[in-house]
């Protein structure tokens, strides 16, 4: 069953001669327990697509559903709640709060309301252990390695037990070995917890590890195949 459903979604920026069609009539489903790698050159629209799914942008046309709910026209507060409770973001590069420890970076989501803080503390410790971060849990973010920071980001994205994970270039600043560790940790969490996940990547080797590969060019889906087919 699809957790994320995009139906004929388009997104344009600017008007008239300056109009740019970043995403054009994209239809895409992402199922529970599935990691979809979104591949394409810079400017192809993959990050815009991720932002649309995360309610960071509103589509110009089309419909977006998450767990069956139409989020297309959510207003300000509904968008904030949606991002807080139902989506987990992992951004490119360093996206930790630099003066907080690894554990505090996970617990910060509890300050945004709508959660039992005691349960969040237990969950933070559980996630830190699962992602092999217990040893560095009390280190401030700036003292963590790139791989540790990305694993903390994955843990933070899972803190509210969202149904959808949106991951933007998680290995861009890592070497191959660290990148594999981070992506494998992500795959393991998605499969084990039955989440849906879109992972934007430039790296073919990382994309091959996903369950499905979606290739995007000039805002349109060029190819959509399982990673098994590409082998």
């Amino acid at each position: 069953m699809a957790i994320l459903e995009l139906r004929d979604v388009s997104k344009s920026f600017g008007q008239g001669a300056r109009r740019v069609d970043a995403v054009r009539e994209v239809t895409l489903d992402v199922d529970r327990g599935e990691v979809v790698a979104l591949e394409g050159p810079s400017g192809s629209g993959k990050t815009t697509l991720l932002a649309l799914a995360g309610a960071l942008l509103t589509p110009t046309a089309g419909e977006i559903r998450v767990d069956g709910d139409d989020i297309t026209n959510y207003g300000g507060q509904a968008r904030t709640r949606y991002r807080r409770d139902r989506v987990g973001f992992v951004f490119q590069g360093s996206n930790m709060v630099p003066f907080l420890t690894a554990r505090e970076n996970l617990l910060i989501v509890g300050q945004f309301g709508g959660a039992d803080r005691t349960a969040l503390r237990l969950r933070a410790d559980e996630l830190l252990e699962q992602l092999d971060l217990t040893a560095v849990r009390d280190q401030v973010a700036t003292s963590l390695s790139g791989g540790e920071r990305q694993r903390v980001a994955i843990a933070r994205a899972l803190m509210r037990d969202p149904s959808l994970l949106l991951v933007d270039e998680p290995t861009a600043s890592l070497n191959f070995e660290l990148g594999v560790l981070v992506v494998d940790a992500l795959l393991s969490e998605v499969h084990q917890r039955q989440k849906a996940c879109i992972m934007v990547t430039h790296d073919d080797r990382m994309a091959q590890r996903a369950d499905r590969l979606v290739e995007i060019r000039d805002g349109r889906i060029l190819a959509d195949r399982s990673s098994f087919e590409t082998l």
Binding site: G54, L56, R81, F91, Q92, P98
Partner: protein, 363 residues
């Protein structure tokens, strides 16, 4: 609390701005204290007189120095309906030599011995004769004069000796310590025995009701506060002090505003990420304002501590007219906190307007 954790982990950055806010608050407290001190020195002796209205000569433009009232004027004022009690008082400045080669000016105020206009004596006894004088504590601190000492006041080309019989707590008049003598002695000091020109008083101190604005042929009545406000230089002096205070608050607001604006600009991407992962805008604005409040409150507390220390050390000699009162310190501190919050509103607006899409653009 994200805001408090950041302050704790970035001590140098926030310590620096707290110090700057503290110095600005200290400056404002000092200026406020100076304003109060100057206000007191301008004429607390007038304000502390035991009456609520004053009668001036009509042509004096409410100047104590120029006001001269005759016996007839005083009698008319005393007979007015609404006047419960009225007593003439005189004023003149005199240079007093209190030690060889040591002299200072004092405000000599003539009162009728035993009348309600004679101030309460805190040490010694009231005026009992024409050669008795009451001196203010501030003179005691400056000159070291004691009860029983004699002071030589100039009368024409001669001096007349007065014996200190009591100490009062009336403060200053025209920035000079107040001294009180028999009004007859005051007349001698002012007119040097020329009986033809002797006026009865400079002013009439009145206790009564509904007298503000009442006028006679040669006199007019105002409230004691209006009389004080018309002391030469008081208004200009207070306006100057107020301008300094407002300037200090403006500078404080700008310093805090710029600091937090720069901090906000440095954190735009971080704030964008926090919004993207579900932090509500009001939560982030609230955290920013909490930091401003902490910085301003701690800065103001430091300033108060510094002011108390200054009062206990540098100002202990009482030569600088600065008066720190609890209310002045509280008002100044609260003003600094308000100015800080107002100054940070630009940052709050900036935080509120950050688009979370910025989180996706951290290439």
């Amino acid at each position: 609390m994200l805001a408090l954790v950041e302050i704790r982990r970035r001590k140098l950055q926030f310590g620096f701005v707290t110090g700057v806010v503290g110095l600005i608050a200290y400056l404002i407290i000092m200026v406020t204290g100076l304003g109060l001190g100057l206000y007191e020195a301008a004429g607390t002796a007038l304000l502390r007189l035991n009456g609520d209205h004053l009668a001036y000569a009509a042509n004096s433009n409410l100047s104590v120095i120029r006001s001269r009232l005759s016996d007839a004027d005083v009698a008319q004022v005393q007979a007015l309906p609404g006047v419960e009690r009225a007593s003439p008082i005189g004023y003149v400045a005199a240079v007093i030599e209190y030690a060889p080669e040591e002299s200072d000016t004092a405000a000599i105020i003539g009162v009728i011995p035993g009348a309600f206009s004679e101030p309460e004596v805190v040490e010694g006894r009231p005026i009992g004769g024409p050669a008795d004088i009451l001196i203010d504590r501030s003179w005691v601190r400056v000159a070291g004069t004691r009860i029983g000492d004699t002071l030589a006041l100039p009368v024409g080309f001669q001096t007349r000796e007065f014996t200190v019989v009591g100490i009062v707590d009336q403060g200053y008049f025209f920035f000079q310590p107040a001294m009180f003598v028999d009004i007859a002695s005051w007349q001698d000091l002012v007119f040097q025995g020329d009986a033809m020109e002797e006026p009865a008083a400079s002013l009439v101190l009145i206790q009564g009701r509904d007298l503000d604005g009442v006028r006679g042929e040669g006199w007019r009545i105002v409230t004691k506060q209006d009389g004080f406000n018309n002391i030469e230089g008081v208004q200009a002096q207070q306006s100057t002090v107020d301008a300094l205070r407002y300037m200090g608050l403006l500078i404080g607001a700008m310093v805090i505003g710029v600091f937090f604006y720069v901090i906000t600009l440095q954190k735009v991407s971080l704030l964008g990420i926090l919004k993207a992962i579900g932090a509500p805008g009001p939560y982030l604005v609230g955290q920013g304002l909490l930091q401003v409040l902490v910085v301003c409150v701690v800065g103001a507390a430091l300033a108060v501590a510094l002011a108390i220390l200054t009062e206990a050390t540098v100002l202990a000699s009482d030569t600088i007219p600065i008066d720190f009162t609890t209310s002045a310190m509280t008002t100044s501190s609260v003003s600094v906190v308000i100015a800080g919050v107002v100054g940070s509103l630009l940052s709050a607006r900036q935080v509120a307007s950050i688009d979370p899409i910025i989180a996706m653009q951290q290439q």
